[in-house]
């Protein structure tokens, strides 16, 4: 019941953030209406990083305490993180087209890093699907999620370097959208959107976690069922043999 209330609150918050972002806040002087994409874009990118952090921590806790609930947390983080990452990339491309003139800007380290991030965690989710045993799955996923988390800063650093050592034309970079000189309305709207998205994130995390627990319980039940069926068949066979004797 509490989760449901949270869901409604989150929905209302996201809707009001959208209304404020689309109609209330004035458009940016340089970028015009395209800049409005920045509010959900930055919020989802931030939450994507948070989700992958949760996945890494969940994985480590599983390896340490061997409690499958931590694995369920890790799974929820990865899946919701992938969703927010995809959303952030999509928003970035929609923003890039009018502002940069292209959907994809190879020189932007964040864009390329985020694309790799998506690939890393889609791989993580596929790995989970292809492993049946829950404990094996949790271990493999925990390790892969941990190495992915270690890889993210290296990727970011190397891509930034790649651009830095290649002095090319400087293009209006996204960080300008949020420098301290930006008017308070913009900053306030971004913070509001972030808060609304965080509520939605929390709701999704709780629901996904519950779902993961239910899936685990069902897997366990199915395994027990198979075991009972095998035992029953064995007992049946034994009694038949005895009868024949």
């Amino acid at each position: 019941m509490k989760t449901r209330i949270l869901g409604f609150v989150a929905l209302a918050a996201v809707v009001s953030a959208a209304i404020v972002g689309l109609f209330v806040v004035p458009p940016d002087l340089n970028q015009g209406d395209a800049q409005r994409i920045m509010y959900p874009h930055v919020a989802s990118a931030w939450l994507a990083y948070l989700s992958f952090g949760v996945t890494a921590v969940g994985g480590v806790l599983w390896l340490w305490r061997r409690d499958l609930r931590f694995d369920a947390v890790a799974l929820s983080g990865a899946e919701i993180g992938v969703m927010f990452t995809a959303f952030a990339i999509w928003g970035g491309m929609m923003w890039g087209r009018p502002v940069w003139g292209v959907f994809w800007q190879w020189e932007d380290p964040r864009l390329t890093t985020t694309a790799l991030l998506l690939a890393l965690y889609v791989g993580y989710l596929l790995l989970r699907r292809l492993t049946e045993d829950p404990e094996r799955r949790a271990t493999r996923a925990a390790i892969v999620g941990l190495v992915a988390a270690i890889d993210i800063p290296i990727v970011h650093f190397s891509v930034e370097w790649w651009r830095g050592l290649h002095q090319t034309a400087t293009i209006a970079s996204p960080e300008r959208a949020l420098d301290p000189a930006a008017p308070m309305v913009f900053v306030g709207t971004l913070m509001g959107t972030l808060a609304a998205f965080s509520l939605a994130w929390l709701y999704l995390m709780i629901r996904r976690y519950e779902l993961a627990r239910a899936e685990l319980a069902r897997e366990e039940e199915a395994r027990r069922g198979r075991l009972r069926a095998v035992q029953a068949a064995a007992a049946n066979l034994r009694s038949q043999e005895e009868a024949a004797r």
Binding site: T139, I143, L146, V147, D151
Partner: protein, 229 residues
């Protein structure tokens, strides 16, 4: 200190076992070398026949060929261990798990080094790049790149070796992780071939060293969990 020496001996023994198996059967090198050669030929068809464009693209093509062939090589080296439950036997030995990882990675490194040097030579011939005059920085790049691919590849081969669809899963998991290595190695190779006009070679080699060290440590710390499952 004594324990560390034992671990090094164990790692060497495992690497030697892999090397002997490789020298006798040539499971990993021959097929992957041939694969790398075919990849290079296809790159030539895809981007040629303009010789200048091929020479410009050579560093990227070199490292793509090494990375693709390298994934096949580390996979083959781990498949050796699935026969007769050899990996389970290995896991039962009373030695540190990180020594087993180090041994497998060392074996992979040896194979990757042979692969890298041969592919480098092939790129020099096929794409008319002068590799002889910059042999030392090029060799350093190949050594560091081979080490990184072996470190990451061995670790992920351990993850996928007992999985369904491992042929798809291994490259899918390894390639995004190897992105910084590919970037650093390609830039270092390009800088070395151009005579390092901007003095950036050292920085890229440092990036490769850092990548190798971080990934080796991560692999050594977590490989044991894979052997347990």
């Amino acid at each position: 200190m004594n324990g560390l020496r034992t671990e090094a001996r164990v790692a060497m023994a495992i690497a030697r076992k892999d090397a002997v198996a490789e020298l006798r059967g040539r499971h990993a090198t021959v097929s992957t070398l041939f694969f790398a050669a075919v990849v290079l030929l296809l790159f030539g068809f895809a981007l040629g026949p303009d010789a200048r464009r091929l020479a410009e693209a050579a560093p990227g093509l070199l490292w793509l060929a090494i990375v693709f062939a390298g994934i096949l090589a580390v996979n083959r080296l781990h498949l050796l261990e699935t026969d007769d439950a050899a990996l389970e036997q290995l896991a039962l030995y009373p030695v540190a798990r990180r020594a087993i990882y180090a041994g497998k990675a060392l074996g992979g490194f040896a194979v990757m080094l042979v692969l890298g040097v041969v592919v480098l030579g092939a790129v020099g011939i096929l794409f008319a790049v002068d590799i002889a005059s910059a042999w030392l920085p090029l060799l350093s790049t190949v050594i560091l790149g081979a080490m990184g691919i072996a470190a990451v590849g061995t670790f992920y081969a351990g993850v996928t070796v007992r999985m369904r669809a491992r042929e798809v899963m291994l490259p899918l998991l390894v390639l995004p992780v190897l992105a910084p290595l590919l970037l650093g190695a390609v830039r270092a190779t390009a800088a070395a071939l151009a005579g390092d006009p901007f003095g950036e070679l050292g920085a890229w080699l440092q990036l490769l060293v850092a990548f190798d060290l971080i990934m080796l440590m991560a692999g050594a710390a977590t490989y044991g969990f894979l052997l347990e499952d």
